[in-house]
Symmetry: D2
Subunit: 175 residues, 4 copies
Amino acid sequence: MIQTTPGWLTQDELDAARARMPILYVEAVPVRVDDSGEVTSVGLLLRIDAEGTISRTLVSGRVMHHERVRDALLRHLEKDLGPVALPRVPTSLQPFTVAEYFPTAGVTAYHDPRQHAVSLAYVVPVAGDCRPRQDALDLVWFSPQEAVSPAVQSEMPGGHAVLLKQALAHVGHVY
Amino acid sequence: MIQTTPGWLTQDELDAARARMPILYVEAVPVRVDDSGEVTSVGLLLRIDAEGTISRTLVSGRVMHHERVRDALLRHLEKDLGPVALPRVPTSLQPFTVAEYFPTAGVTAYHDPRQHAVSLAYVVPVAGDCRPRQDALDLVWFSPQEAVSPAVQSEMPGGHAVLLKQALAHVGHVY
Amino acid sequence: MIQTTPGWLTQDELDAARARMPILYVEAVPVRVDDSGEVTSVGLLLRIDAEGTISRTLVSGRVMHHERVRDALLRHLEKDLGPVALPRVPTSLQPFTVAEYFPTAGVTAYHDPRQHAVSLAYVVPVAGDCRPRQDALDLVWFSPQEAVSPAVQSEMPGGHAVLLKQALAHVGHVY
Amino acid sequence: MIQTTPGWLTQDELDAARARMPILYVEAVPVRVDDSGEVTSVGLLLRIDAEGTISRTLVSGRVMHHERVRDALLRHLEKDLGPVALPRVPTSLQPFTVAEYFPTAGVTAYHDPRQHAVSLAYVVPVAGDCRPRQDALDLVWFSPQEAVSPAVQSEMPGGHAVLLKQALAHVGHVY
């Protein structure tokens, strides 16, 4: 499917750009919180890729031309969690970290064979009902401790397991 | 009124402690946000002090013995904004700044003649209805630009004007 | 001058990309600090653009394909401040803010008529001797208070004045 | 040994205060960095407590009355690492986290049987020669990966193991 909005990229153009410059992404770690802001659970999207491999991912996507970071964040949250998830996009653009996905494995802890992507990562509380759309089968909620267990971490390739641990460390959960 | 919860301080003990060690505070800048997390307005409490001087303040208060920072934040938000303000206490304890109020003016940008207070400062979106309690007369909402105007800033003594500007700079509003 | 390193962009390709997607930048606010880490002065580059207008800017530049953010930061610091500036690149990639330069003025506080640039901004202490290179005439050190004075701020177009105020607010200097 | 500086606490007063209010601490994770700011090793102090148990700790200590946080940080760095460690105290007081040590185990991930301590935690590059003083036997440098190994983590009681992992996650090192 080719995006035809003026100023956005065709698939060919995107492929060309991906080979030549870092692509800006946003990523969100969806969480449930209690009244005191403590994270009580983490939502991971269950996906099946073209090869049939099951993986768990975070909310993630490109920032478009002439789109604000916070609008991109909101757009991808709605795309991945549905229209009534009620995400609480952060007031500050200061991310908890910047994740650098390199096409070459081992340069950083993150890896994306398609491209060099640089991702601004945020923890985003969601208060509403999450109904995954697009290519995600399901959104599964884990306790912070379950989310960093070897079983779940092994299903988060490309450095998403690392990013999730960083997010949880940022909100005070280390195991 | 003396707090008699075991482990907390009588007024005399608090006075003694204030003369001898830094006292830990939390401060919250209450804000309204739109769906994309953009701050649209800032809430300032209107107070009259013992001398009859009108001032505008942020939500602020001590952290008690054996109280978590996030519980102190929630307690002071409820105390100052009422029970249905629906504050969104941050997921991370990382404050946007640490404000150091010294009894001697000029050491830092913050000043509190009563004590050396060190305050963890957070921006807190509130979604509900705010009904000031305690000694506050009213909660008034300002646009970010109004909130940093000389008129409003002059009513925020002791460095609160500085702290408000830091909060707004953190969420992208500088004038 | 065309960069011919494999994977980097020719001027034509860069122009095309600039019209189609956000371009990732890093920006550094060079500062002098005392032993306690307190910022004592801010370094601004003095430039003359094609029209002969004098302006003051921060250290700024693109992140290249397959280049880490911290390497881009170091490269631009060396490019703008010379080889013996001894910049202390931050240990964490968490920026103090993300500045979004839009080709359309007024969308955010930042504006770049050439492109949509998204910039990760850092405060970087420099301990050595700064010798501006490239198109900068000079590096001038200002006290934090001078740096945010109307005279200096008026020479920082495109939102750099705003970004500098945010950097100084982050390190505790608000005027 | 009783501190007799006016405004500071005698041991009795400190004991009384510790039972009644949270005590403000600063903590520093000493690191070595390369030119790009990447953390290459972490310094841990080797201590023997009153019972003869060997433990590894971070640089840590109280903030005194009328002492700025950054001065407390510098004082404890010099006390623990010696006078020529050349620590680079951060420009911003924004800590990477706030660690809450409770006298009751299990309230948070941090525990201090003596007191309720609230600690502002920073990663601090040190460029010079470290010569532990006071009660520390030695300062040992570990690679980030070694520092979070079970062997080393088991020697860091009271939640220091957790705090170290949070520090390393903040600078991009997760294992």
